[in-house]
Amino acid sequence: MSRQVSATQPGPDDTTATWAGLGRAALASPTMYSTVAAILLGVACTVWAEVPGPRGDGAAFVLFLAIVCLVGSALRLALAGVPMPEDMFLLPTGLQLWLNFLRYIRLPPWEEGAVITILWLEVFHSSRPWHTALLGAALIAYLMAVHLAESGARPAALRPQVPVLALGACLLALGAGIAMLPAVTPSAGSTLLRTVAALAVVAAAGLVLPYITTRRL
């Protein structure tokens, strides 16, 4: 009655084979590697921003917030593949609780919260430009990994962004270098001037870049 459709047919009901198949499928999935990479990068960023230990009041609370955001992000990414039924009527209470948990874990912007809290953690330390620059690079990598994990794309999908990221890395290094320049005067105005200069460079690059990308990239 219908055209034959080729597809992998499920095998016999063998539990071991099923679990082995699931394991192979999970390892073969590009999302799995991206998810693990995102979780590890998030943890590394938090640890990097935290060491050598918190300074000032409220640092422990910010660290707690960062951990909560990272755990939420990790759960969201890990459980992204679990399908949700169209309706939850007449389902057992345990299953309804699980589905509600899945629904609510997907709502908050965990990664945005993690980025803000990690940057906030870094502020608690005194100025250490290269340390902060590395943290910035790790945060960008974290966001890229999160995007790959949730979109299911392969890392090659980010290839067009490499030139822009390279330019961004240069500006990152430039920002760190500006921060390392010795102050002309001990006043606060000197640091503000350097900050404005760094921001101006970034803004200028941001304004020029679209014209370059439309022509060359």
Binding site: S2, A7, I116, A133, G136, I140, I178, L217
Partner: protein
């Protein structure tokens, strides 16, 4: 199935990735300004540059072609859905299939590319929407996402027929050419005996060895080969039991199997779906197309309430006299049982296949146990009364072949009412 073409508007919005980059850029710039730390301006740089670079053409509409491999499929059969998008330029495309109720994606429900093939497998019979197909367009910077949703066509999912190889044959068959051996002599191929030659007999039918032995010319006799009218009566009143193996599931699968088996032996097969006193019917017919017509008729009656004409006023075409009526029912509706008795009294030959596959739950309370016992006794009484009327009742569990419960009636012809033994 015909290709479905639609030009659809694309809803564009910033991706979550863009929102995250924006958060990083703004937060770092804000901290740099407030804390007067230039290194945070550098942290903001990659994110802001990516956001600034991400400009591209975004089409307002795309043309989507979708085509299912078939409009009809049996339970468990794979259905392929081919989708193709036009007018997307160099955008990255991701398709995600959200199957409709009763359909299960076979393999991955998502695929990338301008042209994809996705597979679904119907789990349960019925007329079902294939679901919706979501198309996500992403620019090369992955900062904006365009969303398109396509409603997929409907498919008819047929119940998977049970296994049936043998047929119940009536003792008295109408004078119509077929494949069943009749009790009369005719021009068939089955040897029935020999008789003395009479002028007019064909010379090729002379049995020479017998003629030599008896000294007179003897000719071979053959049985006539006839066909019969079979009416499948499916009781859709009660649907009890485990989903997937309920009484209605078994009735439809059994009826589909019987239709296939009788149509294969050149019988004319029709169907009547009984539902709360109403009936949807299809007159007996021949051929392979009749099988699909029969299943379509059964699916059409799955509307949940009485449809069609009254069962008591069915035309002669729906229920031809002398036809074999095979009933698939859990025998839970008293009115249906009365209808069977009435049909028997009108001279129809009936065979009931009991598809009741569930019992009331077992509970500890003595009242519940008593009620359960009374219910079982009532069910036994119903079946006994039907047998007393000459209506055979056989039980089928829906798992095994239908040939097994029907074996006592397929070995020899089923006697019709008023026929001498």
């Amino acid at each position: 199935m015909a290709e479905q073409v639609a030009k659809l508007e694309v809803r564009w919005r910033l991706s979550r990735h863009a929102y995250r980059l924006l958060t990083l850029g703004l937060a770092a710039a804000f901290i740099a300004t407030i804390a007067r730390r230039p290194e945070f301006a550098g942290v903001a740089a990659p994110a802001l540059l990516l956001l600034a670079a991400g400009r591209g053409t975004r089409p307002a509409a795309v043309t989507v072609h979708t085509q299912a491999s078939t409009g009809r499929a049996f339970e468990g059969e794979l259905v392929a859905l081919d989708a193709r998008a036009e007018g997307t330029g160099d955008l990255l495309i991701r398709w995600t299939l959200h199957p409709g109720k009763g359909l299960d994606p076979a393999g991955s429900a998502s695929a990338d590319g301008a042209r994809v093939r996705l597979l679904v497998r119907p789990e349960h019979w019925g007329r079902r929407q294939l679901g919706t197909l979501d198309l996500v367009l992403r620019d090369r910077w992955r900062l904006t996402e365009g969303h398109v949703s396509i409603a997929l066509p409907r498919i008819d999912c047929y119940p998977h027929p049970a296994e049936q190889q043998t047929q119940v044959v009536l003792s008295k068959l109408p004078n119509r050419l077929g494949e069943h051996k009749a009790r009369t002599w005719g021009d068939g191929t089955e040897f029935a005996g020999i008789r003395q030659y009479v002028p007019g007999d064909r010379q090729r039918s002379i049995n020479w060895p017998a003629s030599t032995r008896q000294g007179r010319l003897q000719v071979n006799m053959f049985t006539a080969e006839r066909s019969q009218d079979v009416v499948l009566l499916a009781d859709a009143t009660s649907d009890v039991g485990e989903p997937g193996f309920s009484a209605l599931d078994l009735a439809l699968r059994g009826a589909a199997a019987a239709a296939r088996a009788y149509l294969a032996s050149r019988d004319r097969v029709g169907v009547i779906t009984y539902q709360w006193g109403g009936a949807t019917w299809l007159a007996p017919g021949l051929g392979k197309r009749q099988l699909y017509k029969i299943i379509d008729t059964m699916l059409a009656s799955d509307a949940g309430w009485a449809q069609g004409s009254s069962f008591q006023r069915l035309p002669r075409a729906a229920l031809p006299p002398g036809s074999l009526v095979i009933v698939f029912s859990p025998l839970l509706d008293q009115r249906f049982v009365e209808t069977l008795r009435d049909m028997r009294e009108r001279g129809f030959t009936l065979l009931v296949i009991d598809v009741l596959n569930a019992e009331p739950p077992t509970r500890q309370r003595i009242v519940d146990r008593l009620a359960r016992r009374i219910w079982k006794m009532e069910q036994e009484a119903i079946r006994f009364s039907l047998r007393e009327l000459g209506i055979p009742v056989v039980r089928w569990d829906g798992v095994g072949s239908l040939d097994l419960p029907l074996a006592p009636y397929t070995r020899r012809p089923l006697l019709q009412s008023g026929t001498r033994r």
